[in-house]
């Protein structure tokens, strides 16, 4: 009881800070309960949050002095890097194309696998709980492991090069995409499915004729989005030896070859922008 009285006494002060709405709280005790926490508690929460953040700053070994010393170094590189080198430009362009290829093939393989597994994973197509749980776990497992980690594993298994990167992209994307596909299918209206079910048609025919036409714009949109994401991912994959422009990037940094580095960065920028533009144009056309 006293607790409520105290809170109500607190209200005008708290809300007064926000400028003039305090009187509303006074007249409506019910509203008062939904209003911000009392000051003491607010302060405690803020203090704990600040302390937690400070701890994280320590753990992340944030060191402004290192940054201050490092910045001029970077500025020096920028000066050194100009003009970007055109030496071996052809090789770089081929590597860039390789990066795009890793993303495209990886995403493509993932689309095929995701289309198969999203059907047992979708609640409205698969009534059996066991099958659905198995499909979902497979998708979640693949989604939980980053393409970077998959690529490391595949480099060990199939050797250095773009194929390992492609497999890495494919496996992770399969997990994410299968889950999004399944959700897309679960969002479709139930009526047309029931109508098809009542004709006695099996699942394959129903999916082909009734489900796919309805969900295809959603699926294509998801696939294009994943492709955009995978272009960036496959650049990073080069760093673990999966080929592509990322590998050239790492080599240039290791050799402190700044003009070449600048060229690579420009190529990456153009490449990512081009894919994003094409992909978002295509997605806008979906209806």
């Amino acid at each position: 009881m006293t607790d409520i009285v105290e809170r109500r006494d607190d209200l005008p002060a708290v809300e007064g800070d926000r400028g003039g709405v305090g009187s509303v709280g006074e007249h409506h005790p019910v509203r008062g309960r939904a209003s911000p926490l009392p000051r003491v508690r607010q302060a405690t929460v803020a203090l704990v949050a600040v302390a937690a953040f400070a701890l994280c700053v320590r753990l992340a070994e944030v060191d402004p002095r290192a940054l201050l010393e490092g910045l001029p170094k970077m500025a020096g590189w920028a000066v050194e890097a100009w003009p970007p080198s055109t030496q071996g430009l052809h090789e770089l362009l081929v590597r860039a194309a390789q990066t795009v290829a890793i993303a495209v093939v990886g995403t493509g393989l993932a689309v095929v696998a995701a289309l198969v597994v999203c059907i047992p994973a979708a609640r409205n197509l698969t009534p059996g709980r066991g099958v659905r749980a198995a499909a979902r776990s497979l998708l979640n497992a693949c989604r939980g492991v980053d393409s970077f980690v998959f690529a490391l594993l595949f480099v060990a298994a199939v050797g250095l090069g773009p194929f390992a990167g492609t497999l890495g992209v494919a496996f992770h994307t399969f997990g994410s995409m299968g889950k999004l596909f399944a959700e897309s299918i679960e969002g479709m209206p139930r009526g047309p499915l029931e109508a098809a079910e009542l004709t006695g048609a099996g699942r394959f025919r129903t999916v082909s004729w009734v489900v796919l036409p309805d969900v295809v714009p959603g699926l294509v949109s998801v696939a294009l989005y994943m492709l955009e994401f995978n272009i960036r991912a496959s650049i990073v994959l080069g760093v673990v030896g999966a080929g592509g422009i990322g590998q050239q990037l790492k080599n240039a940094i290791d050799l402190l070859d700044f003009p070449r580095l600048l060229t690579i960065i420009i190529i990456i920028f153009v490449m990512v922008a081009a894919v994003d533009t094409v992909s978002s144009r295509l997605r806008a056309h979906l209806r």
Partner: protein, 266 residues
């Protein structure tokens, strides 16, 4: 097919509960081949539930629903799918695939007969396509065969849905308020089309209606549902005002039931 003269549909003591509330109480009736039965009843009487229970879109809590002598209630999996080919259902909300053309929606009625690769490529045989077009023709929708379903009006969509069920060539046709969204002229022509297929192909038709005045000239028999119970089963020709009154009679108000008790206390 069972022996000639046997009813196409036999509903025996069919009941259904939603979350403990019984909405269908031991409903029983038969429908002969070629017979047209109208189902009337106020909103919430259980008409949709009756159709969903017969087709096993919901699992009935009791009773049997025999189509051509096969009890759908006890079937499962492939056998249920096979038995369902003999049952066509026209839904209250059409249930077309929005992004498919009218004719592709009608082909859904033939889906089970298409080779798997034709289903995948969405490329029916010329024969199936002609049949689908013929079904559209019968409901007056042939001129809109290529139109996408979501560009059609409600009434047009319902006619496409009817064509889809006609394409299925089932021996039993269930229709849940098929003309509720049609103008009077197209309502009459759609019901006439349903009656014609019933007669020509000896299909049993069970059709729920809200417009009682449409029954004459359409149905052979009328059954009435109220609060999930079958309260009427008469020949359409004998349908009289007191029958309608029995079906549509206002439910007794709970407060009325309480009044005597209150006055006793007071």
């Amino acid at each position: 097919m069972s022996e000639p003269g046997a009813p196409t549909l036999q509903v025996q003591g069919l009941g259904h509960c939603y979350a403990g509330a019984t909405v269908l109480h031991e409903v029983s009736f038969d429908v002969a081949p070629g017979e047209v039965v109208a189902v009337i009843g106020p909103s919430g009487a259980g008409k949709t539930t009756l159709f969903r229970a017969i087709t096993r879109l919901v699992d009935p809590s009791q009773g049997r629903a025999l189509v051509d002598g096969k009890d759908l209630v006890v079937l499962a999996g492939r056998e249920l799918a096979r038995a369902r080919r003999n049952v066509g259902l026209i839904f209250q909300q059409y249930n077309l695939v929005r992004r498919l053309s009218a004719i592709d929606n009608v082909v859904i009625g033939r889906l089970v007969h298409l080779p798997w690769w034709r289903a995948l490529l969405r490329c029916p045989t010329g024969e199936e396509r002609a049949l689908a077009l013929d079904c559209l023709e019968r409901v007056g929708m042939a001129p809109h065969a290529r139109a996408r379903a979501d560009t059609l009006s409600g009434g047009q969509q319902q006619r496409v849905a009817i064509a889809r069920v006609l394409a299925q060539r089932s021996s039993l046709l269930l229709a849940d308020e098929p003309v509720a969204s049609l103008d009077p002229t197209s309502a009459a022509s759609v019901l006439a089309a349903l009656r014609a297929v019933a007669r020509q192909q000896s299909i049993a038709v069970v059709c729920s209606l809200h417009q009682v005045d449409l029954i004459g000239g359409f149905a052979d028999r009328v059954i009435g549902l109220r609060d999930g119970e079958l309260v009427l089963d008469v020949a359409a020709a004998d349908l009289a005002d007191h029958h309608r009154a029995a079906v549509y009679r206002a439910r007794p108000e709970p407060s009325l039931d309480c009044e005597p008790a209150l006055s006793k206390e007071g």
